[in-house]
Symmetry: C2
Subunit: 335 residues, 2 copies
DNA sequence: CAATATTTTGCAACCGATTGCACTAGGACT
DNA sequence: AGTCCTAGTGCAATCGGTTGCAAAATATTG
């Protein structure tokens, strides 16, 4: 591998000049810059990231923070798609992608500590937004920069983020049901501490109110929680008027479908469902789930683009809204 | 952050001695080692990864190579679970996790090139095994080490890998069907260039032959391929004798379920299905899919443990087989 | 044309580790 | 006591970059 010294020698300049030329330092004349560039070309020069990071006290890598390992999360293809988008953008920006996960919050915090203090990673992408998240606090304490996927709870103006308009998405989904003649619609969520879920619910509520309809909501606990099934059955029998569900994730919709079928309610009751995230599996469901596509890959891609362009002491924060789209399938019937 | 010089000063030794003490160099007396260790403690010393990588010409990071971006892959929670396992092991080994993806093979190759030549990453985990994979060739050319998840096609003895016993898993699944009285069983795959699929099919074939049954197989193309549905219908009508499917991934099973239902064949024909990978979604299917759990997180974890312990010029290769387990649900009926 | 201003460049230190080799101290041996 | 080992340690170079500051080269001005 050619080093900067080789380039310097070939271009007949000193390494310092070469370095400055490479970074387009205005102190270097256009003539020498050209010479240096040519030398780089012929030697196939590529900088050593570790040397750079050492000298700069700042790595070229982007840290990616996944939410603390809940079974549910590590099973949701959403994150993998986001990762793919991040990876793509980083590839084009010549940045490395560094993963941070943890099975507990303490572990994750520690991971991040190491990445920053020992790895000199200074830019992160946080793949979720949660209320009072200690991870963000840590990041700030360590003087690291981050962009979020999802709207932040705190420092909304100072934090760069990319998100869907989840309120609008929540509305659109609800409106879709209303347009199909549904009047008694229930919103199903999982954890309202998550901004996504909260926003979608807000959107749902708005549409219901606008149409003078009653608001119903139901918390369906995560997969592994045992009594979940029972809860659904109970809810259904106590609310015979409900004809449609808006579920914050396809997975929840799928589970409701399943309960409906197994409890033999499917025969005597027709229930429509609309979900979010458009997982492959919703296509295979029966009936195939109508779902709101949120373009996770795009979310990741844009977040990474922002992250790599983050300057050392940036103060203006970029916000970007990625559109969503209802994918109509067969789980919503007209009443 | 404390540097090695600070530690050296406090321990009243030179940086070189401190460094050697930290690496348990036998040239250093136990007495000084103890002094150095105490100094490390009191200063909360932690080495700078970039400085280390620079001096060693070898990064502490593990590169993780995902398969080239086929829609199908980036949707399969399997990989996310594997990643989780890798991340966990790396956390305990104080190693960073570096992701490599690409939307084309060229892109992925380039990514890897950069990681090795500019990032000094020398240890990789390859999350799949494919016939004649140029990625592996590249890795070897670059003189990088890798451990595979899945059995390698080439250099089987020289390559460390962790895998399920997919032949056995394939047999077990087939035997499970046979035990339930099925005689006309069809194996459904996707891409036989993938070792997993090939192995599972081999296992299936063995059981069929042992039981004097006919071998049937069927290639169901990836999700996005349009005519897929038609193909299934065609196959089903041409083979009225088939009573059970063994599908190489739950997703394929789900798709077959769906066709069966939508084509109204469900009424006049009862078909059993057993899949692999035990995705969450198979639980939500109707009927819930019986599936072979392969413990992806464990696969990743073990692979990472091997990777971090890889020496600079290791020659013995570790192989590790992770067990599998049939998760019985409701998609297999007794005939 | 000398004096000064301005642009370009290079020297040398530094980032935080690792390591070959030379040096020192102490003990064993003649 | 002098010589030779051996074990333990430190010096200084190195990895491949970046950057403050001074020096050199060139341009501008009176």
């Amino acid at each position: 591998m050619a080093t900067i010294k080789d380039v310097a020698k070939l271009a007949k300049v000193s390494p310092s000049t070469a370095s400055r030329a490479m970074h387009d330092n205005p102190a270097i004349s256009e003539k020498t810059k050209a010479r240096v560039r040519k030398a780089m070309q012929t030697l196939h020069y590529a900088p050593d990231f570790n040397a750079q990071s050492l000298a700069n006290k700042r790595s070229n890598a982007i840290g990616v923070i996944l939410p603390v390992d809940h079974h549910e999360i590590f099973t949701n293809p959403f994150f993998l798609k986001v990762l793919r988008g991040i990876s793509e953008a980083c590839y084009h920006a010549q940045a490395m992608v560094n993963l941070a996960t943890g099975s507990s919050q303490a572990e994750l915090l520690h991971s991040i500590d190491i990445m920053v203090t020992q790895g000199m990673i200074r830019r992160f992408i946080v793949l979720y937004s949660e209320q009072n998240d200690p991870i963000l606090l840590k990041l700030r304490q360590l003087d690291a920069q981050y962009v979020m996927i999802g709207k932040p709870y705190q420092l909304v103006n100072e934090t760069p983020y990319v998100d869907n308009d989840n309120i609008l998405a929540g509305s659109d989904a609800a409106q879709f049901l209303v347009d199909h003649g549904h009047k008694n619609i229930c919103f199903v969520y999982n954890d309202l501490k998550k901004m996504v879920q909260n926003d979608r619910m807000l959107g749902y509520q708005r549409v219901m109110m606008e149409n003078g309809l009653l608001i119903n909501s139901f918390e369906l606990p995560a997969q592994e929680y045992p009594g979940g099934r029972q809860l659904v059955i109970q809810y259904l029998t106590q609310h015979p008027e409900i004809t449609a569900f808006e579920t914050v994730d396809d997975m929840l919709g799928l589970r409701i479908q399943q309960v409906l079928r197994s409890a033999k309610m499917v025969t005597d009751r027709q229930v429509s469902i609309i979900g979010f995230n458009n997982s492959v599996y919703s296509e295979a469901a029966h009936p195939a789930l109508t779902s709101v596509e949120v373009f996770p890959r795009r979310l990741g891609n844009e977040a990474a683009k922002i992250a790599v362009s983050l300057q050392m002491s940036e103060n203006l924060s970029t916000k970007l809204i990625v559109p969503h789209q209802i994918i109509e399938r067969h789980s919503v019937a007209t009443v």
